[in-house]
């Protein structure tokens, strides 16, 4: 996952400059334009690093550091001070207060990247090993940490293996898949389950939450699906079974959204049920795009959840697009209109509240995805997938996803 840097400066031009420079380097950039906003932003969601201006009205950089050092969950966030004065006293005071490094203004942007990388390089291991040490408590040992880290790696590898490496080859259909993970273990998943000579089960889902609990739930659902899917059962029945299983075995805040359907190559139909998942698209030459809404609630939160199935017929050339919200919730380049390699600055990024300074104001959205689909219906499934990925990069100004993204495209041959 991309690391997040909070840039704090009362000079909006410097905020904009650092954001413009650091974002293409692959960092997530958040901004705050005063000390109060910085403290709030860090408390709500601690970033991986803070670039902090010293001289600010009301609350200066030193005060910000002092406050953050007194709060348990923010005290370990590394800080690089931006000092305009270049005075030794300031630097010493800064380092005494607990800053990790400082940069003197005016700065060389290359120096900024080098120092940012150096500090992140030092703190990365602490960030990943400390929580492990904490969790292990008295049982902590070097060896134990190594072992646990090894297990995490193994878990990621197992999960990766569970996902089909390539889409199945089915006569009369052109199928392609995409999965981009933002962390070592992914919450998004898909699977293809052969049911009979002419039927294949297709599933796409998104387990909510992050890390190991989400990964375990994903493995549980995926395994349950494999065992429960029989050609004679309706997708609604399958989702109900999965729901009841997950409700029984997990806490209510651990849930998933998923769509399960059966593609029948003989009848050219897709029978599906949607468990609270983003509505997939069905593109028809005659009618354009419609959405597949039929189904029920999200999976695994409520005992009383009920589901229904629907059949949709696929004519030659018809396209089905399944996706997770990591695609439609891709954030736009806030404050900058991105067109190809040209970046234009606008003033919309300047705002008073730190939360609104997080560049998440506009989302890619289902409408734009549907538009991208409609414009590229003549393409093969894989070329269409590529068109979507390119459009996402154009919209967000970045090729690195900040959330897991999964996509399945099924196209009936013409």
């Amino acid at each position: 996952m991309a690391e997040t840097i909070l840039v704090v400066d009362d000079d909006l031009d410097i905020l904009e400059l650092l954001k413009m420079y650091l974002e293409p380097e692959g960092y997530n950039i958040r901004t705050a334009n005063d000390g109060e906003g910085a403290v709030q932003s860090v408390c709500i969601d601690p970033p991986d690093l803070i670039l902090l201006d010293v001289m600010m009205p009301h609350k200066d950089g030193f005060q910000v550091i002092e406050e953050l050092k007194n709060i348990e969950h923010t005290k370990n966030v590394p800080v690089i001070l931006l000092t305009a004065r270049g005075q030794t006293e300031d630097k010493v005071h800064g380092l005494d207060t607990g800053a990790d490094d400082y940069i003197t203004k005016p700065f060389d942007l290359r120096e900024v990247t080098a120092r940012v990388e150096a500090v992140l390089g030092r703190t990365r291991p602490i960030k990943y090993i400390n929580p492990l040490m904490h969790a292990m408590g008295d049982r902590f040992s070097e060896e134990g940490v190594q072992q646990l880290a090894g297990h995490l790696q193994a878990a990621a590898a197992i999960q990766k293996k569970l996902l089909p490496e390539q889409a199945p080859n089915i006569e009369g259909f052109d199928i392609t898949t995409l999965l981009q993970s933002s962390t070592s273990v992914s919450g998004d998943f898909y699977d293809f389950i052969p049911l009979s000579e002419t039927q294949i089960g297709i599933v796409l889902g998104d387990v909510k939450g992050n890390g190991i609990p989400a990964a375990l739930l994903m493995v549980m659902i995926r395994t349950a699906l494999r065992l429960l899917c029989h050609e004679e059962d309706t997708p609604a029945l399958i989702l109900k079974r999965i729901n009841d299983l997950v409700v029984r075995d997990t806490e209510a805040d651990l849930f998933a959204t998923m769509i399960y359907g059966i593609l029948d190559t003989e009848t050219s139909t897709f029978t599906y049920s949607n468990g609270g998942h983003c509505y997939p698209f069905h593109w028809k030459n005659t009618d354009g795009v419609s959405v597949l809404k039929t189904g029920g609630m999200l999976i695994g939160a409520f005992e009383e959840a009920t589901f229904t199935s629907e059949v949709c017929s696929l004519s030659p050339g018809d396209i089905l697009v399944f996706y997770t919200d990591g695609i439609t919730e891709t954030a736009g380049k806030n404050g900058a209109v991105f067109s190809g390699d040209q970046i234009e600055l606008t003033n919309s990024a300047h705002s008073d509240t730190p939360e609104d300074a997080i560049p998440m104001d506009t989302f890619y959205g289902g409408d734009r995805l549907a538009a991208c689909l409609s414009e590229n219906t003549a393409l093969s499934a894989s070329a269409l997938c590529e068109a979507v990925v390119n459009d996402l990069a154009l919209f967000s100004g970045s090729t690195t996803p900040h959330d897991d993204r999964a996509l399945i495209i099924v196209k009936r041959d013409t």
Binding site: D45, K208, G209, D253, T257, G276, G296, M297, L298
Partner: protein, 112 residues
């Protein structure tokens, strides 16, 4: 995200949330909803009028808290969710298990 809880008539708590509820902010949101329940007030209106966006963590917080309120014989309803939030509630069909009102009067009447 900021929030403030006011106590209205008939011991109904109204939680006014302002700003997006994303990521770790959901923990504070959940804690506030639970605190009401723990102090014995089991009638909660969550005012979402000024919430432009929620993510799955916030959704999880609502699901868990809704169940806690139901278990203790109380009730939790939502007030005035805006377009993006309403869409999330519709897609996940949470709108089928949680009552949603457009006005504060309507929401408070739900407890009568």
């Amino acid at each position: 995200m900021n929030f403030e809880t006011t106590i209205g008539e008939q011991n109904i708590s109204i939680l006014h949330v302002e700003g997006k509820i994303l990521g770790n902010a959901a923990d504070a949101f959940r804690k506030e909803m639970n605190e009401q329940l723990q102090t014995g007030r089991d009638r909660l209106v969550v005012d979402l009028m000024n919430v432009p966006l929620i993510d799955s963590s916030a959704l999880g917080a609502i699901v868990v808290t809704l169940k806690s309120y139901q278990r203790s014989g109380g009730k939790l309803v939502l007030l005035n969710p805006q377009k993006a939030v309403r869409e999330v509630l519709e897609v996940t069909q949470l709108n089928t298990v949680i009552e949603i009102y457009d006005t504060e009067e309507g929401a408070c009447a739900a407890f009568v």
